[in-house]
């Protein structure tokens, strides 16, 4: 299924939900505290699915991959890993007690805390690489078009 088709499906399902399952949704709705985290986590999930879809679309292609698309696939993979880590660390953060933070030190008294700490440190590497590969993809396409025009 193409990206455009998926969006179109999501829009239709939303409209269907609006008319058939409206209930109290038409009234002003209350938004409790965990909603922010849930929304954010859903956003991450959407991001993960989107990058997975992009990565599989590229890698599933048996044809020769252009330099641009190759870098784009690397960017998608790094974004995907970064999101999986952040998705996990957001969830784990709830279970990490606040008193574990002692100034410039962190007391990891459980496996959850240790995993959270590791995720919090490593996620940055993946987003940097993701952005780096995204830029490489952009630069590669610029190089091709500019050189093609200058020759």
């Amino acid at each position: 299924m193409r990206g455009g088709d998926l969006i179109s499906l999501l829009v239709r399902l939303s409209l269907l939900q609006f008319f058939l399952l409206s209930g109290t949704a038409q009234a002003t709705q209350e938004h409790g505290e965990p909603e922010g985290l849930v929304t954010h986590e859903l956003g991450h999930l959407f991001f993960i699915l989107s990058m997975a879809y992009l990565y599989i679309s590229i890698k599933g292609n048996r044809e020769k991959i252009s330099e641009t698309i190759f870098f784009l696939s690397r960017a998608a993979l790094n974004f995907l890993i970064w999101n999986m880590i952040t998705f996990t660390t957001h969830l784990l953060r709830i279970r990490v007690p606040d008193d574990s933070f002692q100034g410039f030190y962190f007391e990891a008294d459980s496996l959850t805390s240790a995993i959270w700490y590791a995720g919090n440190v490593t996620e940055h590497f993946f987003i940097v690489f993701a952005c780096y590969y995204f830029l490489r993809a952009v630069r590669s396409i610029i190089k091709s078009t500019e050189q093609g025009a200058s020759l």
Binding site: G103, V128, L135, I142, T145
Partner: protein, 498 residues
């Protein structure tokens, strides 16, 4: 387990800065490419994604930095207030980024198009590299557009004229090479550039140009660059420095003239000496007999004899004058068309009758059409003269071979008469002079030295040429080339012996 949080903070700060820089570059890059190719939807998506990523990265980085700053400065309450906004922007932007990735046009088609573009670019890069290498390995060269603007230049040109590329490109060719403000066509300079643009054919011209190393002579070759529609888009002008060749040619010409002058002087000395000697002999005979007529008493028989000798001397003098005139080509040739094969048959008979028994004659002729235009009597004299020399060169006998055929020599068609003897041959030092008037290797009284010079004169009067090859002790070969008539049939006929 106590773990250092500051490592995490340092990584967070560095990563945040890096992400901002990377995404900012991505925004600038995609903006550029989107502006250049507004028709490509994919580039637009990349641009929007770059913006989303930049806003996300900046928001996240600023959020992280502000958070650290506020917590460290005991302003956690303020951060508690700001953090939902930072988080909301963060969530929104990465959803936009992810959504745009889902909206990409067919990624496989896109990949194919970009792959083709990249491959074509690589191919063109390679071709461009070859072109540059070839172009730079030529003589100095310019590529000139229709409006006389220089669109490309090679390294040899820049080196020769000691100019930076920027001073050449986009300049008018006449400004560059002739320091003029108007095209050469409107000045005294001969330039076929405009003609090449019109005709699409190569042209060449010789020009003098001033270079930093001085005045040089160049052969300029103009080659059109024709596009697929057959239109001349530009012209490649190649400068071949022929200064050295021209100088060498001039020096060669000077030496040739000098040599020719020296040869002429030597020939003139031989000529004057020969005439003086011959006429002296004749005059001595006339004078002696005339004096005897005067001094001795009149005796009819003896006086008659002496008068006969005087007349014989005058005849000899007349013959000498006749030969000299022949040599000078002043005699009018009575040209007519005749067949050389038939003509030669009569000549062979005459030659055969004049040869001693120890000399055999062989005649080989081609079955081709050997019709030519010439003076039969002059040519008879020519052939008999050479045959007579051949006979004299074979005192102990030998074979005299005469061959007639058609040949192509120096891109011209000729009828050739070869007269080959097996005699004593000619010394190599004499070979150069045998056609000079009054030059002879025969004993005094046996030859006047005018025979071969007359042969040369007659052949040249027929627009032909005569050549000689000889080896001492082995014999000589005289080859007479006479122009063939244009209606020639074939050039490869069978040889027939007679």
């Amino acid at each position: 387990m106590i773990l250092p949080l500051f490592i995490s903070y340092i990584i967070e700060i560095l990563a945040s800065i890096l992400v901002i820089i990377l995404t900012l570059y991505a925004v600038i890059g995609t903006l550029k490419i989107k502006s250049q190719h507004p028709e490509v939807v994919f580039y637009r998506y990349l641009y929007y994604q770059s913006i989303a990523l930049f806003v996300f990265a900046s928001g996240r980085a600023v959020g992280h930095l502000v958070k650290r700053f506020l917590i460290l400065t005991d302003n956690s309450a303020l951060w508690e207030m700001l953090s939902p906004f930072s988080g909301a922007i963060n969530t929104l932007t990465f959803i936009i980024f992810a959504g745009l990735a889902l909206m990409y046009p067919n990624i496989r088609d896109m990949n194919r198009q970009i792959y083709d573009l990249e491959s074509a670019t690589k191919r063109y890069q390679q071709l461009y590299h070859y072109k540059t290498v070839i172009f730079d390995s030529l003589f100095p060269a310019l590529v000139i557009a229709k409006d006389y603007t220089v669109v490309d230049v090679n390294e040899p040109f820049l080196r020769t004229f000691q100019k930076p590329r920027g001073d050449v490109i986009k300049k008018k060719c006449y400004e560059l090479t002739h320091h003029s403000n108007i095209p050469c066509k409107e000045t005294a300079h001969i330039c076929p550039l405009q003609d090449v643009f019109v005709s699409g054919e190569n042209a060449a011209v010789i020009h003098n140009h001033t270079t930093p190393s001085g005045e040089r002579i160049y052969e300029l070759n103009f080659s059109p660059v024709i596009n697929e529609d057959g239109i001349v888009t530009s012209v490649i002008e190649v400068y071949r420095d022929i200064t050295r060749d021209v100088m060498a040619e001039q020096e060669k010409e000077r030496l040739r003239k000098q040599f020719f002058q020296a040869q002429k002087s030597a020939a003139l000395k031989t000529l004057v000496g020969g005439i003086a000697h011959e006429f002296n002999n004749i005059l001595a005979g006339i004078q002696g007999n005339a004096e005897l007529l005067l001094l001795t008493p009149y005796e009819p028989e003896k006086s008659k004899e002496r008068i006969k000798k005087i007349l014989l001397s005058t005849e000899k003098a007349a013959e000498l004058v006749y030969k000299m005139l022949r040599y000078q080509h002043t005699m009018v040739l009575n040209k007519k068309r005749f067949n050389l094969t038939e003509f030669m048959e009569d000549i062979i008979k005459i030659v055969h009758s004049s040869l001693p028994e120890n000399i055999s004659i062989k005649y080989l002729y081609s079955e081709e059409d050997l019709t030519l235009e010439g003076d039969p009597s002059a040519l008879t004299e020519t052939i008999l003269n050479i045959c007579q020399n051949a006979r004299d060169a074979m005192p102990d006998g030998g074979v005299l071979t005469i061959i007639t055929k058609r040949v192509i020599y120096e891109n011209k068609r000729w009828i050739v008469i070869e007269i080959i003897d097996t005699g004593v041959g000619i010394k190599s030092k004499d070979l150069e002079r045998i056609f000079d008037p009054f030059f002879t290797t025969k004993k005094v009284g046996e030859g006047t030295g005018m025979g071969l010079s007359v042969v040369k004169g007659i052949v040249e009067a027929h627009d032909g040429m005569v050549m000689v090859e000889s080896k001492e002790g082995e014999g000589s070969k005289f080859t007479i080339y006479l122009p063939a008539l244009p209606h020639s049939l074939t050039d490869t006929g069978q040889m027939v012996s007679s």
